[in-house]
């Protein structure tokens, strides 16, 4: 059994606006929400407010209900997850019409409540990846694995109890869930509750919480922060994940914000498993307790609390000691906006569109280092326009994978043996940049 929180009663676990929420108050609010929940889970949690997301997760957990995490708040996606995984109700602070009861979590402190003990092997949450077919694939997270991950992160980043954690990543994305909810719950630090997305939001959120401050973000948002030239209150560190950060961006951020830029390596299947300081080199150090087995073209990772080693979709290379380098991705997998897909899989979906004779997707060479990079599609579809191709794909693939540009062709360029010439295609798509 592991307690719901490892923090002591008087510690601050979250900041809601200018109200600091102590662990004592949090536990009382958890108990009063838990008492209002329906008899059975699972529960779909898509709260936008980070504190309400944590409160909802904790209340459900204390009742033995599994939380389904969806960072995607489109009704279609939520309904799919609810249907495929038998959600009995949802907890959300935003209204979405769904074929199940949607309850608004409220932070009401009742009587003082104990710190519930949760079985380590209980599946506490299920996170989802989408793959190229769009069908959500579940990844179960036992409570023990989540606790171990949060404690490892607190140790790795030397987070002190009084550190304020401001995140720009959705609370239901695995990285956001671990780093902005579980870190305060089971590691250290106090979360920031409000919505943070634009550079100006980041500056305001940081200004609203006490120092030291930790910013949890992505390469895309770091680039926007630097691009707008906005001034930030002092931060003690910046953590980035979802895609490798280019050295140049990390260097610029360290100079502009006067703090180390650290990166987390992870996957929805395994959680956060390694970290590095970008400017110290490309090698990653595994989290405490995490072990990598690196093969020729295949790597897997053993994570404390997960029942079996997890295969990774990246190709890794040993870098001395227990450290490793990221070499590339397995096969034709690509990653955009924190989501993975296979180029062939996307090409197949596009080829199946009515009116399309032949199609393929390509990724630009800088996909992994250019936060704003997009995939290109090459389409043979007499009578269709690029706009109608994109319209047909919408709803069938994740928005991040919608191609830009779409190059309409009379035929795909092939060599004498009929092999499609990727180089020629790349020239057509990206000649302008």
């Amino acid at each position: 059994m592991l307690p719901l929180t490892s923090r002591t009663p008087e510690e601050v676990i979250f900041h809601r606006g200018d109200v600091p929420v102590t662990v004592r108050r949090f536990l009382a609010e958890v108990a009063s929400l838990a008492a209002r929940l329906p008899e059975d889970g699972p529960v779909l949690n898509f709260c936008a407010d980070r504190y309400l997301a944590l409160l909802s997760f904790a209340a459900a957990l204390s009742r033995g209900h599994v939380t389904l995490l969806s960072a995607d708040r489109t009704p279609q996606r939520l309904a799919d997850i609810a249907r495929l995984h038998g959600a009995r109700y949802a907890l959300s602070d935003t209204e979405v019409a769904l074929p199940l009861p949607v309850l608004a979590p409220e932070a009401e402190a009742g009587a003082a409540a104990p710190n519930p003990a949760i079985p380590a092997a209980m599946v506490a949450a299920i996170a989802f990846t989408s793959g190229s077919t769009g069908e959500p694939r579940p990844h179960a997270k036992p409570w023990g694995a989540l606790v171990a991950g949060a404690r490892a992160a607190a140790e790795r980043f030397a987070v002190t109890p009084g550190t304020s954690i401001v995140g720009t990543v959705p609370a239901q994305h695995m990285y956001g869930f671990e780093t902005t909810l579980l870190l305060p719950l089971q590691g250290a630090g106090a979360g920031h509750a409000g919505a943070v997305f634009y550079p100006s939001d980041v500056a305001e959120a940081l200004a609203a919480v006490p120092a030291p401050r930790l910013l949890v973000t992505t390469p895309l948002q770091l680039r926007a922060l630097l691009g707008t030239g906005i001034a930030l209150p002092a931060v003690s560190a910046i953590i980035s994940a979802t895609a490798p950060l280019a050295d140049s961006l990390a260097a610029e951020a360290e100079a502009a914000f006067g703090a180390p830029v650290l990166e987390i390596y992870g996957a929805t299947e395994a959680g956060s498993i390694a970290s590095r300081r970008t400017l110290e080199g490309e090698a990653w150090s595994p989290y405490p307790g995490v072990a990598f087995a690196i093969g020729e073209n295949r790597a897997e990772v053993t994570v404390p609390g997960l029942p079996a080693p997890v295969p990774l979709s990246d190709v890794l290379e040993a870098a001395g000691g227990d450290r490793f380098r990221l070499v590339g991705r397995q096969g034709d997998m690509v990653k955009l906006a924190g989501k993975r897909a296979s180029l062939a899989g996307l090409g197949k979906i596009l080829s199946d569109v009515e009116g399309v004779r032949e199609a393929m997707f390509l990724a630009p060479e800088d996909l992994d280092h250019n936060p704003r990079a997009r995939l290109a599609a090459f389409v043979v579809a007499p009578g269709m326009s690029a706009t109608s191709v994109v319209a047909a794909l919408r709803g069938r693939v994740e928005p991040a994978f919608l191609p830009r540009p779409v190059v309409m062709l009379d035929e795909l360029p092939r060599d004498e043996v009929g092999k499609v010439q990727h180089k020629d295609l790349a020239g057509l798509a990206w000649r302008r940049s």
């Binding site: 936008a48 997305f197 634009y198 926007a224 691009g227 991040a400 540009p405």
Partner: protein, 88 residues
């Protein structure tokens, strides 16, 4: 109002250029949603637009309480928001 109309055209051009869209600026329906079903933009684009707007018009976009940004409801709404807040 002619200023609003020309600003709308200017913002349409800014969006198409910043995002490398397939659509021509004049093809953007000023009343259609920019995200989801309309022009089909996503959160990556929202940041890109925020960046372009801060450079061109000298002010920062910010989140409303909801992620459902009212100012991105349409090209017209965005242009009106820029008109009201621009410093450059």
């Amino acid at each position: 109002m002619t200023t609003t109309l020309s600003l709308e055209a200017e913002v349409a051009k800014l969006i198409v250029e910043a995002l490398h869209l397939e659509t021509a600026p004049e093809e953007i329906d000023p009343e259609a949603p920019l995200f989801g079903e309309g022009l089909g933009l996503d959160s990556i684009d929202a940041l890109e637009i925020a960046l372009a707007v801060s450079k061109r018009y000298g002010f920062q976009l910010r989140s409303d309480d909801e992620r459902n940004h009212r100012i991105f409801a349409s090209l017209r709404a965005l242009a009106a928001h820029i008109e009201k807040n621009r410093t450059g």
